[in-house]
Amino acid sequence: MLQDLKRQIVLAAHGAGEGHIASAFSVLDIVWVLYDKVLKHDPARPEWEDRDRFVLSKGHASLALYAVLAAKGFFDPKLLETFAKPSSILGGHPDRNKVPGVEASTGSLGHGLPAAVGKALARKIQQKPGRIFCLVGDGECNEGSIWEACLLAAHHKLANLCLIVDYNHSTDRALSLEGLALKFQAFGFDTTYISGHNPRDIEIALQHQHLKKPTAVIAETTKGYGCQRMENNPEWHHRIPNAKELEEILAELT
């Protein structure tokens, strides 16, 4: 299944001449497990009141979210072929007003988590069920608004919030996040550290909920995971394969 989704992602990006493939591969296992095993959702009713919410704060990994939403029936998988075309609902960054199942329009880093905190606070005020999951990138953790949002989540004891960090180390070249799990612990999160490509670990970590504290799951990931030429290769951050590369990548993903 996941190989199939990866092929769809590569084909969509190739067709558009646009897309952050390596970022999508970095988070795909996590997003898949979320929708397949963890989130309470109903693709036929994306606005179902008691659903769990998922905010993809690192919006440039949109292709992973689109592929999973399509696979789960939120919209026709054929739409993936329209990715980034003029009248498509699927843009380079997800838009909550266009795409069924997208909870927040993201793209500017550091915006999704504060919004997820607001959602979690709203659900608490309204005494309504459901958890709010939010996936941020490690580079995104450079943003001050991430840490502002963490202060708010811990202070207001938003135990219904689960933050996932796609820790693929892409920011290491810019700014060290050494001791990332300790940082979240210090900010008042119940923190676990897992492999972001191990479905069982992901599921256990995401099912876990603390009684009073928000949860942080630091997921150790590989950018471009599953595609040798892309893995940890900054050249592939925003690169689109040419025809020959496409053929080779699709062969690798079978």
Binding site: G118, K119, S145, E148
Partner: protein, 279 residues
């Protein structure tokens, strides 16, 4: 204006259970009764404006109506991108209420001045921007809009002697239309005594009254950076415009708001001289 803010919002909190008030660590004493009465809907959210605006957007996606209140530069300038993306682009509703206006905090210096707020917020399509010139105007503008779309209300310590409608002709004349925005009105009336001009009062500057019939000479007296409303005043017209507002320089002297009004040429006498000279 601040007393009215407490009164109006406390009443709206009582009437509408969707409303959530977020204070950026100001006005906490004023809202002490509201804190007691609505403990789950009134927060001293802290001094973190970017996340506060983002959080407010999250509240809005879940059907709540957020109100965020703090000093003007920390909403309009520090959290501009959050207002643009989290609210404007996503089509979410909420109210952002600033104090400080351009230089009500005169002696605190340029960090606390914000004559650029309206100009930058006008870049957010769909944001309604209101500049009440009297406490009662704040009350009526807020009640009319708080549950409809994205709003910015610019509160000033300066107030006109009486409340008016949001777009109202105060006097009629032939040589020019003088548009007085918000708390400039009393000075404009004084400045225009015995001048053959129309004085038009305006509190809602976005959207601006596009269908209004102005004379060929338009003067805009604006309590923020001069020229902020020039395009709106001229749009679709073959008129000429004189903008009288806060000059586009850092106001690096201290003193009182009146001192800075004098420094900026925003006294009634200085306004009158500029209008007469231009006409």
């Amino acid at each position: 204006m601040r007393r009215q803010l407490v009164k109006t919002i406390t009443d709206i909190l009582e009437r509408d259970s969707r409303v959530v008030l977020l204070l950026g660590d100001i006005g906490v004493f004023g809202f002490r009764e509201a804190f007691k009465k609505f403990p789950t809907r009134v927060y001293n959210i802290g001094i973190l404006e970017q996340a506060s605006v983002g959080l407010a957007a999250g509240l809005a996606t879940e059907g709540m109506i957020p109100i965020f209140h703090t000093i003007a530069p920390f909403i309009a300038e520090r959290a501009l991108e959050q207002l643009k993306v989290d609210f404007g682009y996503q089509g979410l509703g909420g109210s952002f209420i600033s104090v400080g206006a351009s230089y009500d905090y005169a002696s605190l210096g340029c960090t606390h001045h914000c004559p650029g707020d309206v100009q930058v917020l006008k870049t957010i399509p769909g944001m309604r921007i209101m500049v009440p010139g009297h406490p009662q105007e704040f009350d009526s503008l807020f009640r009319k809009t708080y549950d409809k779309g994205l709003n910015y209300l610019r509160l000033s310590e300066q107030s006109n002697s009486r409340p008016l409608n949001e777009f109202e002709v105060v006097k009629s004349g032939n040589q020019a239309t003088v548009i007085a925005i918000g708390p400039t009105l009393d000075r404009v009336i004084e400045a225009c005594q015995n001048l053959d001009v129309t004085v038009l009062y305006c509190t809602t500057v976005a959207p601006f009254g596009e269908s209004a019939d102005f004379k060929d000479n338009i003067v805009v007296v604006e309590p923020f950076y001069e020229g902020t409303m020039a395009y709106d005043a001229l749009k679709g017209k073959k008129s000429r415009v004189l903008s009288i507002g806060v000059p586009r320089r850092f106001l690096d002297s201290y003193g009182t708001r009146d001192d800075l009004d004098a420094n900026c040429g925003l006294t009634a006498g200085a306004i009158r001289e500029r209008i007469r000279g231009w006409l």
